[in-house]
């Protein structure tokens, strides 16, 4: 991607500057914003949508979309509770098994998309309903609580003064950036998004790559579910509702083209931070929830317009 990189980095430079400005403004609006405690706590809140956004970046770079991640999160959370409480499995086994189920849900998405050629939007719209319905059916509207103390470490614990899930997110971000930017798998991902036919004609195993990516998307949603349950200490079937849109917003704000072929993990990370900063900072400065959403919408439109401007300047 050497040729494409300078212009992608330009988008990211703009985004980084924007994030910096937003931080500065928010810090001046509220003295609580720019404190270590608040920032680390925001990092904690960001982890779940962050993990999902990383996989979503790959999905969108291939020109696809995964709307079912919020439902997979809900389903995994419910299964975790049910495996432990109702089936009496040991909690570690329940965690692993639920994560496997969430990953499998992503794998099923991939199968529907690659084997039957269903457009990702339709396929995952269907499984969005399907997985959420399963979660609600299994939970029978009961929540699960009373998890043992050690389990809360994933969502509430700290390592070296930094929330545990922020370490997870950091490592996952680094891994995702390396995979997308430096490996043959990453090259294949970009190629599929830019021109799937030409990628196939070049000997790229298009379906295998896509299957991996949708499976990884399920896995990330499942990890997020475990952290989520641990953070809020209960399991409910409506967990993660609408999370897919937050993830897509972060990815698109980060400069990934919704048509595929372009985007970076760094961009997604910046998009995430900017959204979280806006949400938190505006709330702290007394702007109501609706106001924050409006601002995020405006920022998204602005970022896309700037991106389009770059596109035009490229010419050719």
């Amino acid at each position: 991607m050497t040729g494409a990189q300078p212009k992608l980095l330009r988008h990211e430079t703009v985004l980084a500057a924007l994030t910096m400005i937003a931080m500065a403004v928010l810090a001046s609006l509220s003295d609580k914003f720019f404190t270590a405690d608040n920032l680390l706590n925001q990092g904690r809140l960001m982890a779940e949508v962050g993990l999902i956004s990383l996989a979503m970046t790959f999905v969108i770079v291939t020109g696809g979309i995964d709307l079912s991640v919020g439902s997979i999160l809900g389903l995994t959370a419910i299964l975790l509770g049910v495996f432990w409480k109702n089936l009496g499995l040991p909690l570690p086994a329940a965690i692993v098994l639920a994560t496997v189920c969430g990953t499998f849900a992503g794998f099923v998405n991939g199968l529907i998309i690659t084997r039957f050629g269903v457009p990702p939007l339709i396929a995952t719209l269907a499984t969005l309903a399907l997985y959420r319905g399963l979660a609600e059916g299994i939970s029978e509207a009961r929540s699960v609580r009373g998890y043992p103390e050690w389990f809360f470490f994933f969502g509430q614990g700290e390592v070296l003064g930094v929330p545990f899930q922020l370490w997870v997110l950091g490592l996952a971000t680094a891994a995702a950036a390396v995979i997308l930017g430096l490996t043959p798998f990453g090259r294949a991902t970009y190629a599929i998004g830019a021109n799937e036919v030409a990628a196939r004609f070049s000997g790229i195993r298009v379906n295998a790559v896509k299957l991996w990516i949708y499976t990884a998307s399920g896995f990330c949603a499942a990890l997020a579910a475990v952290i989520f349950v641990s953070r809020v200490t209960t399991t409910r079937s409506d967990m993660g509702t609408g999370l897919e849109l937050d993830a897509i917003t972060a990815v698109v704000l980060g400069g990934t083209s919704i048509f595929g072929g372009r985007g970076t993990i760094i961009g997604t990370a910046l998009g995430l931070v900017l959204i979280q900063a806006l949400k938190n900072g505006l709330a702290l400065s007394g702007v109501k929830g609706d106001g924050a959403i409006v601002v995020i919408g405006l920022v998204l439109i602005g970022a896309i317009l700037v991106g389009a401007l770059f596109d035009r300047n490229r010419g050719g």
Partner: protein, 515 residues
């Protein structure tokens, strides 16, 4: 005397349907059209020629209102105009038949002809009767009365779609019709038909800008020819005053050896063998052998199963029956990746769609089929990728700023060289080339032909598909003719004449249609 000529020229200027004076246009700081003047007289066919990248496309896009010139003047009927959009160019009577036909596949023939200018009834509803009558009339004028105006365009052949585009231009009362490589995708009998349509349009006073690489068409049709090179105007000449070598040297600035390179060495062992290979109804019972060092030509009309056969060998549409043998050993090819690992390379017919990832760079495109070799540990070796691309640029003479340039910005010939470079980097033993020189200028064409011969001389087995009969006959050591998914004839070099091959191609076509 001179004054008289001047005034006569000035008087005729007023009547010129379009005249460009001193047009320049730059993209990203690169001047692609430089001080070009060009004019059209009513009822003339004016050929516009030049190698790819010479600036023809940009010039016709300026006339069609898609691009605005940086400097220079456009005059329509003596009045200076500035087209802000294609719509304004249409209004001024300038229509374009694009290389990629821009029709709506799900609409009918009549709807397509009148899209954007539908006849209305007094109540403002679409006047279907008038529309169908006018459509019928326009197609009759184009000698295409056989077209069903109520049929959806999706079912029509390229030749028929093109006639619809021409009818659409006539429906707009076009006085200038720009045709961008109209015969590039046409079979021979469609070409003849198109040429007679062009002649009848000329008789009606329509001025036709005819962009083509094909010399015979230029000499059969055009009244004048304008040649561009590297964005500059080389000259405008009446066609009777030039001959083919003169045009070629105008285009390339040097004289080109138009002869097809001669065979070197002898054929070796059988490298690829097909025995009764089928793919659904498109590829039927194909059997042939391809030897080391041989160039085997696959002739046939578009849709006769040539490309489908190539796709089956390459694993895009795996064989449903029959056997494929490489070096005498049966192999299974279920994907392009497998085909590549067996030493098969396929340079596809559709460069933009199948051959290249156009937004990506030259080095990314070349690396894509070679990722396994260009990876160290888990990571793509960026230095190796760049070195590979630089090597290819030097070896194939690709005209580019560097390995980091997006292939979209290259001319057709250079794009084709990138596709070739990508596949030759896989070190193939069997090379399938589908329309290897389609839409490529004479200079690049000769280079690619020489390269093919050299590769064959080095022991590569080459299967070449081409719709250009002279190319098939000139390049091939042996010719297979396909029709209706089958092999209808085989000719060795001595017996492969245009008449013999052409007869088999078309005879089988008629039988297929009747069946």
């Amino acid at each position: 005397m001179q004054a008289e000529q001047m005034s006569a020229a000035a008087a005729s200027d007023v009547a010129l349907p379009i005249a460009l004076a001193g047009i320049s246009k730059s993209f990203a700081g690169i001047r692609v059209v430089n001080d070009v003047s060009f004019d059209m007289r009513p009822g003339e066919v004016h050929a516009l020629m030049g190698e790819n990248g010479a600036g023809k496309s940009t010039l016709i896009k300026i006339m069609a209102g898609l691009h605005q010139p940086d400097s220079g003047e456009i005059m329509v009927s003596g009045k200076a105009v500035r087209f802000a959009s294609p719509r304004e160019a249409h209004a001024a009577g300038i229509a374009t038949v694009h290389q990629e036909l821009l029709l709506f596949p799900e609409l009918t023939v009549a709807e397509n002809i009148f899209i954007g200018q539908t006849p209305k009834t007094a109540l403002g509803a679409i006047d279907w009767t008038a529309m169908r009558r006018r459509a019928r009339q326009l197609l009759d004028e184009l000698d295409s009365g056989d077209l069903d105006i109520d049929q959806k365009v999706i079912h029509l052949s390229v030749g028929n779609r093109q006639r619809i585009e021409i009818a659409r231009a006539l429906a707009q009362d076009a006085r200038v019709l720009i045709m961008d490589e109209p015969t590039a995708a046409l079979a021979e009998h469609d070409v003849q038909r198109l040429m007679s349509i062009v002649r009848s349009l000329r008789k009606r006073g329509v001025a036709i800008v005819y962009v083509s690489h094909r010399m015979p068409e230029i000499f059969a049709l055009a009244d004048r020819v304008t040649v561009l090179r590297d964005g500059h105007l080389v000259g405008t000449r009446p066609v009777p005053e030039v001959d083919e070598p003169a045009l070629v040297s105008m285009m390339v600035g040097r004289s080109i050896d138009r002869l097809y390179p001669a065979k070197q060495g002898k054929d070796g062992d059988v490298m690829l063998e097909l025995a009764g290979v089928c793919h659904r109804g498109a590829v039927r019972d194909i059997s042939f052998q391809l030897r080391r060092g041989e160039i085997l030509g696959l002739a046939g009309l578009v849709g006769s199963g040539r490309t489908e056969t190539a796709l089956t060998i390459f694993g895009v549409t795996p064989a449903t029956a029959g056997r494929i043998l490489i070096d005498g050993k049966p192999v299974t090819i279920a994907s392009p990746g497998q085909a590549r690992d067996l030493g098969i390379a396929y340079v596809p017919e559709d460069r933009a769609h199948q051959g290249l990832i156009r937004p990506q760079t030259i080095e990314d495109n070349i690396a894509l089929a070679n990722l396994g070799r260009l990876t160290r540990g888990f990571f793509v070796d960026a230095a190796k990728v760049a070195a590979e691309a630089r090597g290819a640029i030097a070896r194939f003479g690709i005209r580019a700023r560097g390995p980091g340039q997006p292939v979209r910005q290259l001319s057709g010939g250079n794009q084709q060289k990138v596709v070739l470079a990508k596949w030759l980097a896989t070190n193939p033993r069997i090379l399938i080339m589908d329309e290897p020189t389609r839409g490529i200028d004479v200079g690049a064409k000769a280079e690619i032909h020489q390269l093919m011969r050299k590769l064959a001389g080095e022991g590569m087995a080459i299967l070449m598909i081409s719709s250009e009969l002279p190319e098939v006959l000139g390049m091939s050591d042996r010719v297979l003719v396909m029709n209706g998914g089958r092999i209808a004839g085989e000719f060795d070099k001595a017996h492969a004449t245009a008449e013999a091959v052409g007869t088999v191609m078309t005879r089988s076509y008629a039988r297929e249609r009747a069946a």
